[in-house]
């Protein structure tokens, strides 16, 4: 094993490290923006129950960026005797936490809004004193919702650009959270405008539609996060496709000249992969330590994400890998 690999810190190529720095900066900006949003919504919320719910959701939005920042920090710790695999899985734990925040947010919103519809609760929004005149508080709420919807749109789009480059699913979940934020703002805007028209059900109905999509995103993320923790086959950052490295590693092992057949199973450790390769040599003596070490180095050079490689010479491939469906 080369010296720099054996340290097993979360080092990465310069260009990827630069993307990571951007992502970390973006998450700090997100937290700062959220603090501003929470203050604005708090001031505009008055006695409105609907706005109170929006405020609780905004508080939940703090969870994914904080989970990301803690996760990224923890993965940087070097492996030691007590933690021989390093701390990469911290990203997986962060992903579970971030996804759970999305699920909770969607569920609270659906439950709360459904209850309002069942109770036929008419939202009451009265006046507010602004510069000596009384105006309808609904206008102020709508203005607050427009102001608070814009930053998450921008931040979410920026995160979606960075997430695939880093193969970081927490960042992707956080982009989903930003989408949830601006969509709830939009739904509250439509809801308050509807209340103004005398449609008491508008607020709750708009919220239910949005909350359903938030819950769907949350469940999707939670499934992906759990799949990562139980070592399912790695997928792309959006959990939609098998990760291309899975096939690349297999193809590389199979083309080694002293190998008759080969296959690998790969663990997704969050940002990096650990590869377990199984090789059936052409002749029993071909799998020398020197030959195996050469293959390991080739795999390391394949992609920065391949952080650790274990190779086993075997007489036949494990069953699961032979029956693995073509992706």
């Amino acid at each position: 094993m080369s010296a720099e690999r054996s340290r097993d810190t979360e080092h990465m190529p310069a260009d990827v490290a630069e993307v990571m720095r951007k992502a970390v900066r973006l998450e700090w900006i997100t937290i700062a923006v959220l603090v501003g949003i929470v203050i604005i919504v708090y001031l505009a919320m008055g006695n409105s129950q609907a706005m109170k719910t929006a405020w609780i959701e905004d508080m939940l939005s703090f969870i994914p960026p904080i989970a990301f920042l803690i996760g990224v920090r923890v993965t940087r710790r070097p492996a030691d005797a007590k933690h021989p695999f390093g701390y990469h899985r911290a990203i997986g734990i962060s992903h579970v936490v971030a996804a759970t925040a999305l699920v909770v947010m969607g569920a609270i919103l659906i439950g709360d809004s459904a209850l309002k519809l069942i109770r036929i609760e008419h939202p009451t929004i009265g006046g507010i004193q602004v510069l000596g005149t009384t105006i309808w508080m609904g206008w102020l709420m709508m203005a607050a919702m427009v102001v608070t919807a814009i930053p998450p749109i921008i931040l979410g789009r920026m995160k979606l650009k960075l997430a695939p480059q880093l193969h970081n699913k927490v960042l992707y979940a956080d982009a989903d959270m930003n989408k949830a934020d601006w969509m709830t703002s939009l739904s509250a805007l439509v809801g308050v405008a509807g209340i103004g028209l005398g449609w008491w059900w508008a607020d709750a109905a708009a919220a239910i539609i949005i909350a359903t999509s938030i819950l769907k995103d949350g469940i999707g993320n939670l499934r992906a996060a759990v799949a990562g923790l139980i070592d399912a086959r790695p997928t792309t950052f959006d959990s939609k496709h098998t990760h291309p490295l899975v096939d690349e590693v297999d193809a590389h092992l199979q083309q080694v000249d002293w190998v008759r057949s080969a296959a690998a199973r790969i663990r997704d450790e969050g940002q990096v992969f650990h590869v377990e390769g199984f090789l059936v040599p052409e002749t029993p003596g071909a799998a020398t330590p020197e030959n195996l070490e050469a293959v390991r180095r080739q795999l390391f050079d394949l992609d920065w994400k391949i952080r650790d490689v274990t190779l086993s010479p075997v007489t036949e491939l494990p069953n699961v890998l032979e029956t693995q469906p073509e992706a």
Binding site: E121, H122, G127, T134, G196, G198, W200
Partner: protein, 156 residues
């Protein structure tokens, strides 16, 4: 586009915000049904007709709407029940913004502050039927302008 839609629809009903139960439209030029709970000096049911600071305010408010007042007296609990079922348009009785009934009624902005015997500040409000936002805004606008006038009067 949304604001255009809002403007068009508001033009149809006459008010933005509008009342789901049309309180403001019904009361204007007609009858305002007010529940009164005895709570001196804000309201008093000792005489033939209700009296007190809030009663005087509401009489003034009704006259701006060109409406007659129909009084109903009772405990706050009885009155809230009547309000919820649409038998009343509003309730007065020295309510504060900390009233335990606030999940069942719509409250106005505080129009006056007093200090109670325990040294706590009471912010005085009135109650309307939940969700009747046009009526609530009308009442808020009236009470705030009255409050400003009286504050102006004191300082002069």
């Amino acid at each position: 586009m949304l604001s255009l839609l809002v403007a068009v629809l508001a033009g149809c009903s006459g008010h933005y915000p509008a009342d789901p139960h049309g309180t403001l439209n019904r009361v204007t030029g007609s009858i305002l049904r007010v529940g009164v709970s005895h709570n001196k000096p804000f309201t008093s049911l000792e005489g033939e007709t209700p009296a007190g600071e809030e009663v005087a305010l509401i009489e003034e408010f009704a006259s701006t709407l060109d409406a007659e007042i129909e009084w109903m007296d009772g405990s706050v609990e009885e009155l809230v029940d009547q309000l919820e079922h649409g038998r009343l348009d509003m309730i007065i009785g020295g309510l504060t913004d900390q009233t335990p009934w606030q999940s069942k009624v719509g409250l106005t902005l505080p129009y006056a502050e007093t200090t109670d015997e325990f040294g706590q500040t009471d912010k005085h409000v009135m109650a309307v039927r939940m969700g009747e936002n046009a009526f609530l805004l009308e009442l808020d606008t009236f009470l705030q302008s009255q409050a400003q006038q009286s504050r102006g009067g004191q300082s002069r």
